[in-house]
Symmetry: D2
Subunit: 444 residues, 4 copies
């Protein structure tokens, strides 16, 4: 018996009515850039650059057919005009104030939508400083235990749904990176987890409470940070049980994005790797949080694993067995939200001759992340309407540490990830899979 | 009726006996690095890094099957121990002298195989300085007309085959870039071409004479430079008529290789492009030849077209309609054969915010090209034994300007090219095509 | 007998009244950035960063005395509040429009001084398209011959002096680079030059007419571009005869500035140079003009000579005899007025071991040039009041190709140039020369 | 009364006989590169690139006199043929083995002088792992207390002098960086220090024992590392008392060298500084030692102070008061002894507009350091023969943290340092000081 009966094509439920977007960390740079951007696009004041759902196309059929509809015309996605936003934050600033503080968007992009932004005010957050040491906020919930806090979150959500007339929602974690944790017994099954919850076990992180609240209300959950959160057996079990899609972890932006572009290129050509040194400088709140070693460790794990999965040293020992990989992040205030990554890559070719690649990527963290938030919200909503539940591996494209089924290795190559995503859409719409085999054109 | 009846799996003819590699430009840096490298690998003194045929693997079946044989164990390729080499050059230095002159390989790699290299001496070349202005050599053939020169080349080949006991051959152009030419009427059909040949028409370049000689002897022909050569209707017609595979143009190494890695990455994420400035510095003979404007023009065309095909401005006008693309090459003797490319890429993201990528690629031209020569020789020989004839689009992976069927656009994305190549191999061996659709793992 | 009797300390004439600044090319990016900046500084809305006269200090006496007054408190300079501006341009846009077109300053810096900028309108320019081929303007003077044009310029100046109540002036060329010219017989003496002028000789460039007008009216003249202009025997003769200071050529900004910082450093440590490759990308009008080969040649000469003078290959043949120096400039519109220079420097050390330096300088042309204009205007006015006439070598600090006395080599090392400038100021104010000899501190 | 009666010109004692070079850390990369290089130069097999004493010239008199003798022809330096070497190390490998281990010099440079290198074997070192945690060697002295160890070192020196027929010596510390220490009371005066020595006080580092041994034997001492060593009041007192020259600290190579070239350039032009991020990657033993936090702290202090001294924020608050300066060092084995420094410099100009400089310096640590060792040995020997004693500030040119008289700030600007050095040489030889004032040429 199949685990899930995916609805395809006309069976997919239609995206009627409003879609609520629930964001823990709504006052941060990524969230405000995302929300302001959506509103600017709706008013025709900006382009949703970087968004596959809004600008992407998909090739169908043969190369000479020139059938390449926009993705949003091909699959039944929610319209961005139907999005409504709510969220939680440890600071009580409304989104107009928060967007100014973030210093990502210019005045010219904030002022025209001042009223809209000012109308969104964060709800008090669930927060525990043991998990994010370099931040401190006072807009936080109090509860007699962890279960109580979960119930408060669920109450927040139900109020939002009622007042805004929303019934479909997606929750997406845009909060800070929590300290490094390994999955333990309390995370290993749903009963164990729920029992630990009752006891307010200290191994349950705040982000897990948000995920639990979402899943208990049948709301898809996405994790944009590298912390475990929904990536524990207990919550995966719950997602399947409640037939809710989940996805994560850690938005793939900046230097890691570049790494998953370059590394597949080196491997395609079977160029060997001797070392890869990556340094990052950034000056925003994210940089501050990652100045704490334990938060950095969570991030580092997420960043380091990428290369091994792409390069497959077990298959290519001559080329990739012994490379030295080092990632550092430095808080550097002059950079602000503009992140800069410098990569120094030592490769070798024919007969072992060494060559070098240096990459200086002067990017913008939130500008790269915002369209991912939009795409993930829309695709997760689609997944739910298509009755796809549990881990959504086809969305690996968006993550540094893609969640994956046990006993199945994750796919980190950006190009394979995109192929996977698009062939999934083709499957949903009953179109032929694309293989890029093209010999047939020459056999007619 | 099908144009070609491809032989698959056990029907493919076996690679028995010696395979002759015929190289116009055999004394150049690429050729000597290739040939010396093959010999070093045969003696266990070096690794064929960069070669898909030697080190590459291919995944078969499901992800959890872990079936990933080496390509050379999967498809019936010639063994590198069966390769024998011959070629033409405008300088009469033997390959031991030529390899030293090229300054690519170190003493430690040349001395151990001195006897082998010294035993290979170029045959006199067909050369016309109107086509390569910055070079001059005196080891050249004289002929009463162009047809006479072609016949001399064919006689050279027959002698080689006889003395070395070779009957299967592949010819691969590793000579310098010829001046820019547009296809004209004399190139438009086989009869027109042959007639022009008799009249020694000056629009027939030396490289075309080599290609003609090869095709008339049923020898596959590969073009590693950007000149037209075999990419004209006349010779494509001959290739099909004689059932010979052909491939080209312009080995994809260095900066353009990097471009076809990065550009698909930007497009995958739908990041816009405002400008791409590429400068190259190199100090070898190639740099000297490209200091001539007309030779550079041939190269420039080859380098510039890459981006448009990958980015598809017609599908993404918001993102790619107006970018400014500039490529320069500078002769810089301190660099020698080590090429350096610097790319300055101006991109934009969400709402149009600008970001920058700078790439400094300190590479080695011949080191990157040598494994491509090896792969192409082996794959072209395979193609012939599998009865694949005419343009081999599945080998686009190796070229800056992949040859393609009329009315079919070429594929420049390195990752799609690799997919195409591997799915072609799977087809030849009757294995299932890989689509990277992975939803099935979650539906069991 | 001394050529000039320099007035020192209290003998220097006081800077009373208004100082007129006359600018050929007043509508360009450099001029508008300079003028707007002066006004913003006057109103307390900006800092004159980069200006030695405004922010610089000068150490006097012993190290332990801590006597380091601001330069403007030490020497009697004109106050920036006393500057008034006029100039010529081939476009008739007023400076408010011109500043917007230049796209150097942000709205926030232009709007508050809109009235001031809009009140300055260029006078029609002397222009000849044979000398600047990629530009074309219609706001130009007509004259029956060259002398007539000079007289029109002088009339413009007299009108300005009268209407604004100015008698002291400085003229500073901020126009585009003219095509390459070598000094010829018509430039070799004042009589020859004046005779050629009468005949409207085509070897007399427009910039020379401006210089002539200035010198005939006893107005100091500075040349910010690399064209010959005042650097010909004829006009040097006139400057001395009329006791007027002159200075030039070519504002030292951007990549060449960086070069005159790095090269002295390499030479200080006697590190050898194998090659220096410099590429520039810029998108402003300057970039467009330099896309013309003959204008570029003028610039190239100015840029290339720098290294030889600093490195002195005649003294250090082992280190600097054979280096390869290449400079390219590319028009790249995405960069706008923001210039980017990339330098690739191949050096060698102990026993000849090679090392490399790569420098990416993301600068702003006009932002670097504007403070030089201010300093030069104020120092040239000081020079005239101190009766210093002819070539002002002590201002070499500001130029890529410093003018110098015949038979005396120019000084290109930025640090020696600064020493020269400051010791000149100390001399003028009768302070002790600084030698940086410090042994005396240890001998007391 | 003067503290020292410096001997000038013909009074300077002649450099007769052999000059012994005593090196703690003689088996390291810097020492072996230095010693092998000196021998190669002596045999005409290499050039002493980077050495001021061997290749440098000095301008004397007027610019038009063209009097620029080589420094070694101008001042009476020891001839490199008279140098003999000895030293201590914690590993007992002879210098032929040590040079191979260091992987700085190629086979071609080591083999021809194999016998010479193999003939030099380190004496057992004074070592204490508390001061250098990441190293461990077993070729170390045992002593009943610290005084005993000092006496053993002195005995080593006397033996060396006797067996080699040497009486003039210079000792130069080329050992690893010791952990961070602040000067304490035990270092504050000679009596206190000697008393602490008797008690084997743990605040006395091994490097101090070497310095003490040298000074007690009237041997000049140079410190090439950032540890305090001779830079404590006690040993400065001893140096003056015994009339011995001392110098330090920390050879200025690599990234800091670059910093003291660039920073004076920015300051010369009064460009503001917002931030300076420096990262270093290196893979040699030095990198390993600096992976220990406390050793890194010593280095960091030395590296960070440079900017403040050059930029003088107290004089230029608008420009330099608030810059953010960050230096990191990362152990990266693929780099070996080749060090790579990447600097990201955020500057601002006219009206505060931001600009950026990125510098990638692919250097070689020991290749840059070796000529400094040679120069320092020769200049220190000269200093002693000229009766210059105590701190040699005129040699600041060679150090990251130049030692200086109390109440006198150090000079970090490379160009001022060079001026200081050369004017000191001119003083010693009774030549006129150079000021670069050049107005006189224009007043004749």
């Amino acid at each position: 018996m199949k685990e899930q009966e995916i609805r395809r094509k006309e069976e997919i439920l239609e995206p009627r009515g409003k879609l609520g977007v629930l964001i823990p960390g709504i006052g941060g740079a990524v969230s405000t850039t995302f929300i302001a951007g959506v509103e600017l696009v709706r008013r025709g004041l900006g382009e949703p650059v970087g968004s596959l759902t809004q600008l992407g196309t998909i090739r169908l059929g043969k190369r000479y057919e020139y059938r390449t509809p926009r993705i949003k015309d091909f699959v039944p996605l929610a319209d961005i005009n139907d999005l409504v936003f709510a969220g939680w934050d440890i600071y009580d600033a409304n989104l107009y104030e928060a967007a100014q503080f973030a210093k990502v968007l210019q005045k010219d992009h904030i002022e025209p939508i001042k009223d809209f932004l000012a109308s969104i005010t964060p709800m008090p957050a669930v927060f525990d400083r043991r998990f994010v040491r370099n931040l401190d906020g006072n807009h936080v919930k109090k509860g007699k235990n962890l279960r109580d806090l979960v119930e408060q979150l669920k109450e927040d959500i139900r109020n939002f749904q009622k007042t805004q007339g929303v019934d479909r929602c997606v929750m997406i974690w845009c909060g800070s990176t929590e300290v490094y944790m390994k999955p333990e017994d309390v995370h290993s099954s749903l009963p164990a987890f729920l029992e630990a919850l009752e006891k307010s076990d200290e191994r349950i992180a705040p982000s897990m409470l948000y995920a639990l609240a979402a899943l208990e209300l049948n709301i898809p959950f996405v994790n944009g940070a590298p912390n475990l959160t929904v990536d524990i057996p207990a919550l995966i079990e719950l997602a399947k049980k409640n037939k809710v899609p989940i996805a994560g972890k850690d938005f793939k932006t900046g230097q890691t994005l570049m790494k998953t572009i370059i590394a597949p290129g080196l491997k395609a050509r079977l160029l060997g790797l001797e070392g890869w040194y990556s340094t990052n400088i950034l000056g925003n709140r994210d940089g501050l949080v990652l100045d704490d070693k334990d938060s950095f460790k969570t991030k580092e794990e997420s960043k380091l694993s990428v290369l091994d999965y792409i390069l497959q040293p077990q298959l290519y020992p001559t080329l990739y067995k012994n490379y030295y990989h080092k990632v550092t992040i430095n808080y550097y205030p002059p950079r602000g939200d503009n992140k800069e990554g410098w990569d120094c890559i030592d490769i070798f070719g024919w007969l072992g001759y060494p060559m070098q690649i240096k990459i200086d990527f002067q990017c913008r963290d939130s500008i790269l992340a915002a369209p991912l938030v939009l795409d993930l919200v829309l695709f997760m909503d689609l997944a739910q309407r298509a009755n796809m539940n549990g881990i959504q591996e086809w969305l690996s494209f968006y993550f540094k540490s893609p969640m994956h089924k046990e006993n199945l290795y994750p796919e980190h190559d950006l190009f394979i990830q995109l192929m996977k995503l698009k062939n999934t859409l083709r499957y949903l719409m009953k179109e032929e899979q694309i293989t890029h085999f093209g010999l047939d054109y020459y056999m007619e």
